[in-house]
């Protein structure tokens, strides 16, 4: 190992990167762009669902009933015009997700002590969303029904304790811990750091090598006395610097822009994020051993990094909820360990000791990737 040669490579690479605006943009802006796009785009909370209220009764009771929806944070009222045709049209066009229909005599039926029907028409295009809408509607109607029951008991002259016990024999108390308002944005924003740090760095290193393969400059390396390890390190280090910068930038995005709390050990976050970035750069080095063009490098980096990053990192679905094959795959990629580490340091307030397992996994993983990159890179090619 000759430090001089590594430094020569680092210096040259840094100069080149600095003078190539497109590449610098890829290295510095794209991670933030991803954070912006996915951070806002990947929110799984269903809120402010547009709905249409058709009130044929037009009574105080029916208005009261509908107000429960329009004032909820889950729904937002788009129109209360009593025109079913127009409402259906809006539903078809996707302008609203739900039509609530209150038939005439709603108030009279209730007053007479009879059960009054209400209809909810839900856009079922996406079953997952339709289910959520249905659940919200049911929850609101359920709450109203319990209210009615309580009013009835109170009317009968029962004590407040009795009313509670009769109307809700089992009372469910939910408290979200780590993410008190169960905001998916918090968990997504922190996990996204892991996803982006797996997607961008391999592009940087694989492009940096394949650019030289395309131009022919790689022959300077092949024909020189530089060793394979020196070359790989020399290529990884400049981009490690850029990625380290991104580790901080992305941290600021998650905490300042998306409001995710950071409760754990910052040194633990920094160390693990840097280790993970280094590992990620190594994946790019490894990829470049198999491709010769920049476009192939870009595509392969995207495929290799994107799929595990999104599916098997725990960003969208917790790893334990995957089926067996999914879990096996998740363990094969580094994103899972790091995302769990991110959730731990951001939301759970964990530190070094609790993260030892994940850190060890990342360390082993990094070593393995660099070993593979080293073994696959040759200064004499087959083709």
């Amino acid at each position: 190992m000759k430090l001089k040669r590594i430094l020569a490579l680092v210096e040259k690479e840094t100069l080149e990167m600095w003078r190539d605006p497109l590449f610098l943009c890829l290295a510095l802006l794209v991670p933030s762009l991803f954070m912006f796009l996915f951070g806002y785009g990947l929110t799984l909370d269903v809120e402010h669902l547009p709905f249409w209220a058709i009130d044929y009764d037009q009574s105080p009771t029916s208005r009261d009933f509908l107000a429960n929806f329009s004032y909820s944070r889950y729904f937002s009222l788009k129109s209360r015009e009593t025109d079913e045709r127009k409402a259906l049209e809006a539903l078809v066009k996707g302008k609203i997700r739900l039509i609530l229909l209150v038939p005439p005599d709603f108030e009279r039926e209730l007053a007479a002590g009879r059960s009054a029907p209400v209809q909810a028409l839900i856009d079922g295009t996406f079953p997952y969303r339709a289910q959520i809408v249905k659940n919200y509607v049911q929850a609101i109607v359920g709450k109203l029904n319990r209210q009615k029951l309580k009013d009835f008991f109170r009317h009968k002259g029962l004590s407040e304790a009795r009313v509670e016990a009769l109307s809700e024999p089992i009372r469910l108390e939910v408290r979200y811990i780590y993410n008190e308002e169960a905001r998916s944005r918090w968990s997504v924003a922190s996990a996204l750091i892991g996803v982006i740090l797996l997607m961008v760095p391999p592009m940087l290193t694989s492009l940096a090598i394949c650019r030289e393969k395309e131009s022919g400059a790689i022959y300077n390396i092949y024909v020189s006395t530089i060793s394979r390890a020196e070359f790989l390190l020399g290529k990884a280090l400049p981009y490690f610097g850029i990625t380290a910068l991104n580790v901080l930038i992305l941290f600021l995005w998650a905490t300042l822009v998306f409001g995710a709390p950071f409760r754990g050990s910052f040194s633990c976050y920094l160390f693990s994020a840097l280790l993970y970035s280094f590992c990620s750069l190594g994946i790019g080095l490894w990829i470049s051993a198999f491709v010769r063009t920049q476009i192939a490098a870009l595509l392969l980096s995207l495929i290799v990094a994107m799929i595990p990053a999104f599916l098997y990192s725990g960003l969208l679905v917790p790893v334990v909820c995957l089926d067996v094959s999914g879990q096996v795959e998740a363990h094969l990629f580094p994103a899972m360990y790091f995302v769990s580490l991110l959730h731990g340091t951001f939301l759970k307030g964990l530190g070094w000791r609790a993260q030892a397992g994940n850190l060890l996994a990342l360390l082993i993983y990094t070593g393995l990737i660099y070993l593979l990159a080293y073994l696959s890179f040759h200064k004499r090619t087959k083709r």
């Binding site: 040259k12 100069l15 003078r19 022919g216 022959y219 020189s224 006395t225």
Partner: protein, 626 residues
Amino acid sequence: MERVVVEVKGLGKRFGRQKALEEVSLRVPQGVLFGVVGPDGAGKSTLLKIITGLLDFDQGEVYLFGRRRSSERDFEEAKADLCFMPQGLGANLYQELSVEENLHFFGKLRLLDPQALEQRKEELLVLTGLWPFRRRRVKHLSGGMKQKLAFICSVLHQPRLIVLDEPTTGVDPLSREEFWSLLAGLVWRLGVTALVSTTYLEEAERFEQLALMHQGRILLQGTPSELLSQVKGEIYWVQGEDPLDLGEKILNRGWHLFPYAGGFRVFVPREKVKEARTFWSQEALQSRPIAPSLGDLLLGLSPPEPLAFREKGARAPKTLETVVRTEDLTKEFGSFRAVEGVSLEIKAGEIFGLLGPNGAGKTTLIRMLCGLMAPTRGRALVAGYDSRKTPRELRENIGYLSQAFSLYRDLTVQENIRLMAGIYGLSGREARLRLKELLKLTGLEPFQNLRAEDLPLGLRQRLALACALIHRPRIVFLDEPTSGMDILGREIFWNLVFYLSRAQGLTCLVTTHYLAEAEHCDRLALMHRGRIVAYGRPEDLKRELEREAGRPYLISFEDLHEARERLKAERPVMVFGRRLRLFFPGKAEELEAYLRAKGLKALSWEKGEITMEDIFFWHTVGKDET
């Protein structure tokens, strides 16, 4: 005893099913400027990469610096004494870095100590004239400068073996000359060995020894004169009343021919020389013998393809109509002038050559003539139409064979031609007729159902020509149609162009960076940095040069370096292997007297032929502003 730096025995290399090298054996002695000459795809790069340990091989033995090497590690040990410069102008340079920064990187990569690096950097920058440009980024350098920089970066660590892959392809003659003298200087002074590939056969004389490669094999190796003595025939220039008829008669005898200086250049196999002489006098032809060249070695290998596609009796009427006329045609890209003040006239049925290195402005000029690009200044009349005012009518009268391969690879020969017929709106009957005609003309009939991608380069270019001719244009622009072709492919292509011009009156404008090909044109223009520096018939240009500068002599001296230094102040000196090429207006005795007066003694000398490269060199030297 002669020391051998590189020795290769029975080398074989395959890429998948394709054989790149077969049974290649080669010996490169120490201190020799050794050439590997051959067309694209002959296996030159593969051979050089294997020797430098950049590419694995399948069979054979490689000895480098006296040791057998087979594993990656074996070659690794030799790399301190090696360099390799890949194909492509400045391909191994870092475009975003400055001249100096590139040198620094190469020096540090080779672990030169900072003082030695600074010293050598300065020396080489001054030697190559790059010193004033040391802070300029590589991407803003001219082609010739890039090539020089790439070269000095490669040899900065003073390797014992310098390996260069096509260093002169596409480089202008002046820079090429500088490069050869730079390289020869290193070989002389330091006693290092250089192994250099080239696709230009006419560069063979630059080497002390060379190997001629063809289709993955080495056909011959030795000194240039040894190789030339192997030519199995004699070369004649002949001229007759009816060139088409004469050409056909010669081809029917199985002799190779090229259009040349108003007649033909004919390769007559040695055993037929008598027959040929009788033939010349029987037909009352003008004829004279001319010197063979390395290309003739390849011509001797196989008979020419019989051009049975010639229609009997078809002759274009003689006219003096001007088909292309340009006045002060100029194209600027920002502050860069790609084409500057070009005024040309091309007559109907003429084969007009546009010659120049990469970046001289040939393609830009053609694009303006085709109406694909608007000139910044000046105007162009093509087939009577102004390219700016009536681009549509213009396009109906021109055909264009572009430099990049523009056919559909997945379509067959027939389908490609039919597609073009459709694009130009030929009716069904007309299209069928034209298809048959063009297949016959280009000799592609047996291949009509093959896909374009499966055709070898020569046939592919013939197909491209057929496609360019589909709508019976009056003028056809051929942009580097023979680039990368071997000599046999070129022969067919040029004869085809010749036939089209003489039998059908088609005007052909051909660009090429193979200067030797200029001799196949009726008239030509030499382009350099956007300007036309010479213009006329090739034979006239040669005569003009002879009048002005004399004839070239190849002279060897005891101390070449010294001789060059003394001579170059008075007249341009070119470096040819271990000899100097000097133009001298006078007889041989006068030359000797001249040399004596300079205090030099020639060991031996030989008269040379004026080449197109000489003409280009003379017209560009001194006209270069940097």
